[in-house]
Every structure is written in structure tokens, then in C-alpha cells.
Symmetry: C2
Subunit: 292 residues, 2 copies
């Protein structure tokens, strides 16, 4: 049933996807929408709309008084599967200033609010140098402002992965000075200099490779119905859910989930969730995992 649709040219396929995106999310689409989004001519936009009608006649109908094509009652997408998380991720990028509205396909943005991101942005050339070192398996000399030393210092690292702790981005890297694997906060890398062949293999970074499973449950101090709501929020089945996290990120994951403080630091209705297998998890946290 999908014959003919795969060998459309890339640009046309994008425009048909756009038509479908607008139909799903906004319920209507116009020639001028297509003209604005892609800079094609009006007759071309007409052609696209008719091409879409050819392919999926039930998905769209022209509404004379709305002066637009509207979504049909039996709309079923052919070019994309509507994804709320993706839509919301775009909203967030717009809110964070990462994307312009024009770069999304969202026609009319709803009012938006988000908790501020707060972190300093990463220098693109620094990021590029780190990514390149990872890709080529090289060691990289960086000017790094560490927590423990007052002045930034040049040091060699051999990065093998990129990590996100919920706030900041890290290079997961072998640190030459002390022969260990650590997290280097990307925004603390002020400059990069030389490169040389790798010094260590990322596969030796067991804290990165091995996982911990966190078992999460609603806070027992909540009423049964509150617990059920929390279970719904977190998609728990049988009152708990399991989350897999790299051991190296465990410290951050607990912090981000609010599970790093004493159980009574917050009221149950603020805390929401508890860690069931804390003993097991704690036994892995003897070594404090913090970025340098």
C-alpha cells in the first residue's frame, strides 16, 4: 500500500510530511503555509497538496469557509507517526533559545514556560575537539578549570564518550595524571591544544560500561491514591519501576531524581518517589563520583 511513496524526491517527501504534521497538530494546512515553510511557488504548493490528496484522500478535505485543507475524520498518518515527546522536545528547544520557531514545523506556538536551564553554554570548538578525539581514539590536551585547583591548568585526557548529568555536559575520559577515568565538565574546558595517540582504552572504564538498576516506588508516606497517581506519572507497574543507569552517572541520577538527600529532607508530597534498593545502590557509591 505504500508503493510509489518511497521513491519521491527528498524535498517533496519533506513537504508531504509537513502537510501531514500540520494536519495532525493544527488540523489544517494551506498553500501559503507550504510557501512560507519551504519558499516554493504557489502553484507548486497546490501540486503538493493535490499529490497528498492522491496518496491519502481520506486524510484531508478542503473546507471552503475555512479556506484551508482540514484533517479528515479518519485521518491516519502515512509519512510520520505523531510523537508528543518530539513535539514537546521542540517546544523546549524553542523555549531554551536553541531553535527558532521557523525551524520547527509548529505553526502557532502555545504560550510556554520552563524552569530555566541556567548552565553556561559549551564552546563549539572545544566540543568539536573532544568529539574528534573520541572518534579517532586520541588523547587531547586541555586547559581545565578544576574544582580543586585555583588556576586553570593544562592536562591530558583521553575522552571516550559524552555524558549528560541532567544539567551539564561531560567528557568521560581517562585522566593521564592519575590514571583513572573521570568526568570533565565541558564548560570548564577553556581551550584545547595538542593531540596525540590514545593512552587508554574506553573499554577499561568499568564505571561507564557497567550499569546499576535503580528501583523506584511511590513514597510510602503518600496516601494510596496519591501513590497510584505517582505510579501513573512514572509508568510504574506493580508499584515500582526499574531504571538502568551507568554507574558513572549514578551520583548525578540520584541527585536529579531528588534521591540523594536523607529520606526526611522533604515532605512525602514533595519527594514523590523513594529508592527501594538503596542498600544495593549505596554499596556501589562508596567511591564518590563527581566531576573534577
Amino acid at each position: 500500500m505504500d508503493e510509489g511513496r518511497t521513491n519521491l524526491r527528498w524535498g517533496i517527501k519533506r513537504r508531504l510530511e509537513f502537510i501531514e504534521f500540520r494536519l495532525f497538530w493544527e488540523g489544517h494546512v494551506n498553500r501559503s503555509d507550504i510557501v512560507n515553510a519551504f519558499g516554493v511557488s504557489i502553484p507548486q504548493a497546490s501540486t503538493d497538496l493535490n499529490r497528498y490528496l492522491d496518496i491519502a484522500p481520506a486524510n484531508m478535505a478542503y473546507d471552503k469557509s475555512a479556506k484551508a485543507y482540514v484533517r479528515g475524520p479518519d485521518f491516519s498518518p502515512r509519512f510520520l507517526s505523531p510523537d508528543a515527546d518530539r513535539y514537546l522536545a521542540q517546544l523546549r528547544s524553542v523555549s531554551d533559545g536553541i531553535l527558532d520557531q521557523g525551524e520547527t514545523w509548529i505553526g502557532q506556538l502555545p504560550g510556554l514556560g520552563a524552569t530555566p536551564a541556567l548552565v553556561r553554554s559549551v564552546n563549539p570548538k572545544v566540543l568539536r575537539a573532544v568529539i574528534a578525539a573520541i572518534r579517532r581514539g586520541e588523547a587531547l590536551e586541555i586547559l581545565y578549570q578544576s574544582m580543586s585547583q585555583p588556576e586553570p591548568r593544562w592536562r591530558w585526557i583521553a575522552p571516550h564518550a559524552i555524558g549528560f548529568d541532567g544539567f551539564r555536559w561531560h567528557a568521560r575520559a581517562h585522566s593521564e595524571g592519575d590514571d583513572t577515568f573521570k568526568d570533565f565538565v565541558l564548560s570548564r574546558i577553556l581551550e584545547t591544544r595538542a593531540i596525540r595517540p590514545a593512552t587508554a582504552d574506553g573499554n577499561a572504564d568499568l564505571d561507564w560500561i557497567e550499569d546499576v538498576v535503580l528501583e523506584i516506588a511511590p513514597h510510602p508516606g503518600l496516601s494510596p491514591s496519591q501513590q497510584r497517581t505517582i505510579a501513573l506519572d512514572y509508568g510504574m507497574t506493580e508499584g515500582k519501576s526499574k531504571v538502568r543507569v551507568r554507574r558513572a552517572l549514578l551520583y548525578y541520577a540520584l541527585k536529579r531524581l531528588g534521591l540523594d538527600t536523607a529520606p526526611d529532607a522533604r515532605r512525602p508530597q514533595d519527594q514523590h518517589i523513594v529508592l527501594i534498593n538503596r542498600d544495593e545502590v549505596d554499596s556501589l557509591t562508596h567511591k564518590r563520583e563527581e566531576s573534577v
Copy 2:
């Protein structure tokens, strides 16, 4: 100096941007890269590369032994400004399963790790209904699982904005039952039903419209050099930074920044930052702002 570049067709411009993206981030680009990303023919990819060379001869040169075009030493982008935050946001989306690698322009993904997102995803049709109600200024009947009641219940809301608390997405809405503005967690909306004309004006939602300014500083329990590092992380000037947040999101912002607990709930080196103007902020928090 940018003559002729604006009236290129949309698809061609995308491909030239792609060439530039790859040059900046990976340092090289190929005919086959373009063929794989856009499904064009090999001669077309040749044409594109030569067109790019025409426009920016200094940015690219063919390296015979690498069998690819490589970034020139004086590379200066013409079609996009390299943005690390955007690159990283894409990495995160890939890590969260929101994007496929093929949908990004990143050629070779670095190893990736992130703290898990953990929240249940939002139903696209529910989101669509909420967005539509916001756009059209309508009230919407929703089946909502609240914290306070054991069973989900049908209720009317008049949403006027979408909010993100760092974990979950909300509809900011006027609640008909009690004539107040509240946050409704989108994943707790199980179904939507009727719509009717708006009942309240979003402009009356003062907690949403009015802002609070949080003044953040490094934790005083840290050593001076540690404080300086934290100041760097958060882009602070003169030892502090100000963050503006909607009053309705204040509760979540404090929680997300780890500023919702007693000052001694964490060690300084775990806490990192403190809120300087807590008194001022607390005076606004007497009304506990939590989603229903």
C-alpha cells in the same frame, strides 16, 4: 557578499548546510555522505560540492589520500553558525530515543550516556487537544487522575499555556471547579472529551505572568577556588547570577536546582549553589505551587 545564496532552492540550501555542518563538526564530507543523507544521485552530490566550493572556496579542499573534502584552515561558516548547545540537544534527543541518528546530521555518534528521563510519555492526541484549546481559547473537558482523589474524574479546564517543570509537562489552565489557575500534568490527562468557549482569560493568571528573580551564588562552604569554578559553570558575574522564572514555576525551579531543601541537607561540594535572596523568594511561596 552573500549575493545569490538566498534565492537557492530550499533543498539545495539544506544540502549546502549539510556540507557545512559536516565540515565543521567532522572535518570532512563526501559525495556518499550527501547521497546517504538526501537520497540524491552521485552526480548531483558532485554538483553540490562544487557549488559549495564556488561559494566558499577557502572553506573546503579535496584531500586525495583521505578521499574526501576536508575543512580548510580558514573555515568560516556561510550557511549556519555552529552551535554546541544545539548539537548537544540533538545528542540528548538521540539518547532519549526521540530522534534517530539518521534524522540528525551527525555522522558518527560519540558514545553517549545520560541520566534517565524516567517520565511517562504524553499521549499525542491529548497534547493536541490541549494545544488546540490554548490556540482557540477554549475550555476542554478532561479525564484527570489527580493526586487528591483515588479515581480519575471528568473536569473542565481552560488551558492557556504549556509548562515544563524539568521533568514533566503541564497544561497551565484555569480550573473550573474552584475558579483558580493550576498546573495539570499532561500524562495524568487520560482522555479528552467536549470543548466549549473559554471560561477565563489567561491574562488573569498572575502567577504565570509575573516573574521571580532568583539570585544564585556559589555555596559559601566551598573554598575560594571551588567557588570560582562554580561561578564559571553557571556563568556568574561578580559571584552571582540572576535567573528569572515564572512564579508558577518557582516551586519546580527550586526543586530542580536543589534549592528546595534545608541548607544542610547536602554537603557544600554536592550542593554547589545557594539562593541569596531566599527571604524574598520565600515570601512568594506561602502558597504552595504544586500540580494537582
